[in-house]
Chain length 408, copies 2
Amino acid sequence: MRSTPARQGSLREHNLGIVLREVLEAAATGAPPPSRADVAAATGLARATVSALVDRLVASGLVAELEPVPTLRAGRPAVPLAAPSGTLAALGAEVNVDYLGVRVVDLSRAVLVERVVHGDYRGSDPAAVLAELGALVDDAVGALPGHGADVPDGRPVRLAGASLALPGLVDSTAGTLLLAPNLGWREVDVAGLLARSSSVLREHPPLLANEADLAARAEADLRRADGPASFVYVSGEIGIGGAIVLDGQIFGGRHGWAGELGHTVVADGRTLEQVAGQDAMLRAAGLDRQAGVEPLLRAARAGEPAALAALADAATALGVALSNVVNLLDVGHVVLGGTYARLAVHLRAPVLAALSARVLAGPWVPPTVDVARGGNLAAMTGGALAVLGQVVAEPSAWLVEHEVAGAG
Amino acid sequence: MRSTPARQGSLREHNLGIVLREVLEAAATGAPPPSRADVAAATGLARATVSALVDRLVASGLVAELEPVPTLRAGRPAVPLAAPSGTLAALGAEVNVDYLGVRVVDLSRAVLVERVVHGDYRGSDPAAVLAELGALVDDAVGALPGHGADVPDGRPVRLAGASLALPGLVDSTAGTLLLAPNLGWREVDVAGLLARSSSVLREHPPLLANEADLAARAEADLRRADGPASFVYVSGEIGIGGAIVLDGQIFGGRHGWAGELGHTVVADGRTLEQVAGQDAMLRAAGLDRQAGVEPLLRAARAGEPAALAALADAATALGVALSNVVNLLDVGHVVLGGTYARLAVHLRAPVLAALSARVLAGPWVPPTVDVARGGNLAAMTGGALAVLGQVVAEPSAWLVEHEVAGAG
DNA sequence: CGAGATTTGTTGTATGGATGAACTTATGCG
DNA sequence: CGCATAAGTTCATCCATACAACAAATCTCG
């Protein structure tokens, strides 16, 4: 954690990052693609400096120059800068309780390839499942330009790295999964097993992270337009995942285990998961555990007392747990993800009421409860974005240095 | 939150901070005062660069050159560098439920002046109390060299700034106290009232912060020797304060309100404060509310069942609340402060047991429960250190530029 | 006791990145 | 067609750090 000394190169690295971020973020906020001059004005850097930096970024495919659009004003038309498509991409994989998948996302946030397999992975064999995932990863990457048999006209896609989302506690430095209660996995050498079945992951050791953390990252990305977001993300799945987002950044804690909300004690020794987890709700509503959340929604819509009571109990427990979190973290915004997003009609109002009643700072900064915008596969996108975030944080590592001479 | 562009000056600022920190931190870790060469080796900067930076810092009184000690090795003897005494200092004030005080601390962490007044400030009049504090502040600063009537041989102490610790929710940008339940204060224009009674605070608008946050900062400072500390600080007072320390830094949240632990719901709707607050414990033990914590300790030592039960209930509630916090934040270390420090004999074991049982990551990173090392007045020290921390973060703002020419 | 070894701190010179002003390019407008 | 306007580039300058050579102050060993 010792801060490193700043040499001159650090300056360039820093400013390169600022320029790159400025270009990539423009699209997110709905702003038109900025020109070099716009970037200079926005960042406070000199035009000459920005020009030099942009040229480097363009040469390495980290920034794309668009066609000059017919301008309305006088003056030389600007060259719009934007996130490039298909130059640099990252891979986000996921193993969850009921599905398995891979996504490859590029700097423009376009999904280049996607593979998803549904199944029931509770109590599954880690080696077998990870072998399947490894094959899926290699298959997906094989479909990328420049990686499969075909090398078309365009440049090949560079792969910046890979990540893997898991529904449990992860040791990201060792590349192992410590504990995933709902998968029934414990102390699994995930990185090692994946390296056996996937040449891609052998070359790009995946960044392991918690599924909720990565889903929250995708969610934060979707909310960039509203400014840097701070919120608590609660993801109802078979278990309950949680994540903390501060100023658009995931707060993972020392080991990346922060956000563990499901095991919060809410009342008389019961944990949140035992009251508001999917299995618990279904059982309380008298429904089959395997059925999923749709029957519960139907029953509630039909006015079944057991279903309504189950949802009310879950909402109360969620409200208590989240009030504690909001008081502790001074983050007044809650986002409901996973199956909670689908149950939001029944959960939102009572949770908000609980927050309003219990949050000490409520009178000055009213709490909010929102529904996640990311879809089911948010964690894969979030994982890819986490890797791309490393690129933005350290752009010079991804620059391709060209020869000074170079006559065509 | 937009990151500013790095000009060349930023480089210098950054490196100046690194060098300053290296010198100031050396004492904390028990290392001998480093020489310029030591700093260069430790930071990775060139000797020439360090020399130039150190010279600036010395000229402005941010670093002190000690007498060369007779060395044991060959070579030119080194000039030891250390934190200077009495050159630059910060003021930490505090209003709490049962006392009121000021401390002035310099860069060497020496307490230059201290004033404390004991009293009962529950339900007090804010204007009167703050007038009293303002007078106390001016009195304390008047006793500093160069600020009172006397201007002795040495240079005057420069005051870097002031801070004020309050047991409640604070709006630090507006300089107001929003809510302090145990003082009975609400929406008080603290900065405005203090400016009336204190010329010092008129010149140095105090940084308002939560008492527990600042006490935790002092605690983190005392633990620097063990490396950057991450812990949850629980301070038992009339109410219950809490603070989160991450890598030696206070996590205050968006508005500085994070750490609010006392209003956590622990069981059947009761909050932690209602079970483990000082008043609640005393009542449960059948003791007088005004008595303070000593009678409770005596009763427990005598084996009184009511006292033991009160402590046990408090410990259980604390254990549950802290388990939730540890699971949420991935910070496995708890420090008991305030009156909890004195009750630690009775609280520590059961709290640790609760953590061990409930913390999901416990098997891999065992939780710990520690007793605070800071004394009663930790918040004042912490407040002063917070201000000094700003100096270290931006040293160039505190440099005194000398004329190039200067013949004596 | 003196020459060499050793380590600290300082004094140039070189390097690399940002800056600002002048210049070129490309457009709209009258 | 000339002028205004704005984008992007070129170039001399500045500034902080690096590197190397040097001066200073002490120990060590013959």
